[in-house]
Amino acid sequence: MIPTMKRTMTALAALGFGMMTSAAWAGDVRVMWYSDGVEGEVIADLLNRFMEQNPDINVILDNVAYKVVQEQLQIQLEAGTGPDIARVTNLKALASHWLDLTPHLQDPAYWEANFGDYADWMREDGSTAINGFLTQLTLTGGFANKTLFEQAGVAIPGDDATWDDWIAAASEVQASQQTAAAFAIDRSGHRISGPNASYGANYIGPDRAPLPVDAGTKAFAEKLVAWTNDGKMLKDTWVSASGSTYRAAADDFINAAIPFYYSGSWQVANLSTKIGDGFDWVATGSPCGTAGCSGLGGGAGLVAIKYTQNPEDVAKVMEYLGSAAVVKEFSERTLFLPAHKGVASAGGLAWASEDPNVGPALDKFVEASGDIVPAAAALPAWKWGSAYYGALANRISQVMAGELTLDDAYARIDADVAEAVAAAGGN
């Protein structure tokens, strides 16, 4: 009786402890996942297939809001808890929490060969660990409402068109079609960093410490503020929030309130789903500055968490999701650009969309990925990128709201970045 009771109490205690922490049971692999479009359904489908093939591993998919990943995951990780696998965009800053999968993988060389180009984006500086892989490669770029341009009788600018050319053309459409503004860029420092680099901006110093705001950043920031003040850029997106709050202008483009929208490749599925046959749209790549026509690469990565109790099972799930066939299917169904070298170079992706705008749009982003300038290419693997992006969005929107001058904003950006670096323990 007493041993039985003891066993029961031990089991209850273990159950309680298990419920208090979010660590999974042996054989359980918990995945924290967010969705921009349909990828939540696709990954659920793929994981169900994995569990049919591996009945001893139970994968629990937690579909959460992007904000949860941004705000809560770090706290869970600092506490040594959290999921076993997570889909993350803030890959570099949290790199110390990722698991090195190398000893658990059957073929680490496969991972190096196919995902190695982006491995530095998610691992600590100087590390050779394999922490995960990019579920999608993203690139910032523009979208034009082809129907509005045609109705206005304005030609869509060509590949070599500058930002000034694009805004001039979009302004003609605005005047003709009475849209709310000529264009909008998502409220995000990340989003304007490609254009900044196109004007020669560089954020990274020789010691990888942040550089002060330079002439390139100033050149684009001045244009952006001027376009906002004269009503060419939709004021709502940047001015309507404070701090580093992210605001997308996708809904304004979808509602035909702006003829030109600068966001990124991850919007393709969203635009296709929501616009439907409402109007024709095209991806445009990134307009040119004085130093290039660059967007900013990036992506969401699926990383293993080092606090997992089941590293072997986690590695099996990662190997399945990182296999060429699964990456190909995931990319085709989600309309995401694959970050798998083998899949990308083989080509022949059958995009799962009947929308005639989708294929050319994705092809355009693939083409534009060749235009990324070195200063922009270095940013995804730079650990202070988040600090710089947050300060840019925060302070430039204050200038747009009339609270700061541009010079004050530059000084504040430098101070904010320095403060963030110091608060995080220095360079």
Binding site: S242, G243, A423
Partner: protein, 358 residues
């Protein structure tokens, strides 16, 4: 007992006997229920007596308050102490043991200003902007809320048709989640929202309510008043209903004008309730966050950035979080709330003394 009557079950009992059995059963049930309590009471009686002998009646009061104080300590005092400890550290680590002790450096950084009336001269300019916005919000929102709630309570206290319905209408927004309130009003006030859709057909120009600084600030005030009005009006209504009717009848017989009745009878007798409403509204206004954050996101620029949002941004929303600075800001905000509470206590005590003297 008649010889033909069965022993059991007995078909009938006289009322007196039934009552006796019921009373006995009750007594037994009571004994069963209370016996363990009695044993427990007898068990703790000696130590309690000893405790009382050692500490007096004050010690006994402390003993009985202990469970409540323990809960209060774990869920209120301990977090406060931990928060204070965080405010003395820096770094991105979560655990205190992993964080670097910096003393009062976070407070020094927050309070580092060349000119306290000009946030742009401060190291943490957005903290001071948030502080100034919060102060202005508190003054305007609380004043307007008190006036509106008082007027609403006065109207609802009158003999109206469907009075209960109108009371429910005014109270209904209190039941809504603050996020829902913020979203509803955002849909109404945004550029392509309901309000502009209504005024454009009237030939008026659309207004970007949430992008223009003054309109956005006014919207934050208006929406929070709309959301909380019912609660405060209800407290005031209770106060109005407690005022004796004969005072109004006497005033009417004397031919007193309605305005004079309000200033000389209603307002003085409503003052205790009004004081409660003012203090509650003040504290709530200092803590403003949810409705305003969903409605305006702190914008345009930093026009509606309030203290709580600043703390949230610094401590949680930024990609590189700074919990030490956020903790220091929250301690300073807590100090403001303590001052407000002390003022409320002082006023309450003064009123109590006045009441006793009268």
């Amino acid at each position: 007992m008649p010889a033909s009557m069965p022993m059991w079950p007995r078909p009938w009992l006289p009322p007196a006997e039934t009552e006796g059995i019921v009373a006995q059963l009750k007594q037994m049930a009571g004994a069963v229920v209370t016996a363990p309590l009695g044993w427990a009471a007898r068990a703790i009686d000696p130590p309690l007596r000893l405790w009382q002998r050692l500490t007096g009646t004050g010690g006994m009061a402390a003993f009985f308050l202990l469970p409540n104080m323990a809960i209060f300590g774990v869920f209120v005092l301990l977090p406060l102490v931990i928060n204070f400890a965080y405010s003395m550290t820096t770094g991105g680590a979560l655990f205190l043991s992993d964080r670097e002790y910096v003393g009062a450096a976070q407070y020094a950084q927050l309070l580092d200003c060349d000119d306290y009336t000009d946030p742009s001269t401060c190291a943490q300019d957005q903290f001071w902007t948030a502080l100034a916005n919060t102060a202005l919000f508190v003054v305007l929102q609380v004043s307007l809320l008190i006036v509106t709630a008082t007027i609403t309570a006065l109207i609802l206290n009158r003999e109206l048709r469907a009075r209960s319905f109108w009371r429910a209408v005014f109270f209904f927004p209190v039941l809504l989640s603050p996020v829902v309130v913020g979203l509803i009003w955002r849909w109404i006030l945004q550029r392509d929202g309901l309000l502009n859709a209504m005024i454009i057909p009237m030939g008026l120009d659309p207004v970007n309510w949430l992008i223009e600084r003054n309109w956005a600030f006014a919207a934050a005030i208006g929406v929070t008043i709309w959301a909380h009005l019912g609660f405060y009006a209800l407290i005031l209504l209770a106060g109005l209903q407690a005022i004796p009717k004969d005072l109004y009848e006497a005033a009417e017989m004397d031919g007193t004008k309605p305005g004079r009745v309000f200033w000389r009878i209603t307002l003085p007798l409503l003052m205790p309730n009004l004081l409660v409403v003012i203090v509650l509204a003040l504290i709530r206004a200092v803590q403003v966050f949810d409705e305003a954050f969903v409605l305006t996101g702190g914008g345009p620029g930093t026009a509606t950035l309030f203290l709580t949002q600043y703390i949230y941004e610094v401590g949680f929303a930024s990609l590189l979080k700074n919990p030490g600075l956020a903790a220091a800001a929250s301690i300073l905000m807590g100090a403001v709330l303590v001052v407000l509470t002390l003022i409320q206590l002082a006023i309450s005590r003064r009123n109590e003394k006045k009441g006793k003297l009268k």
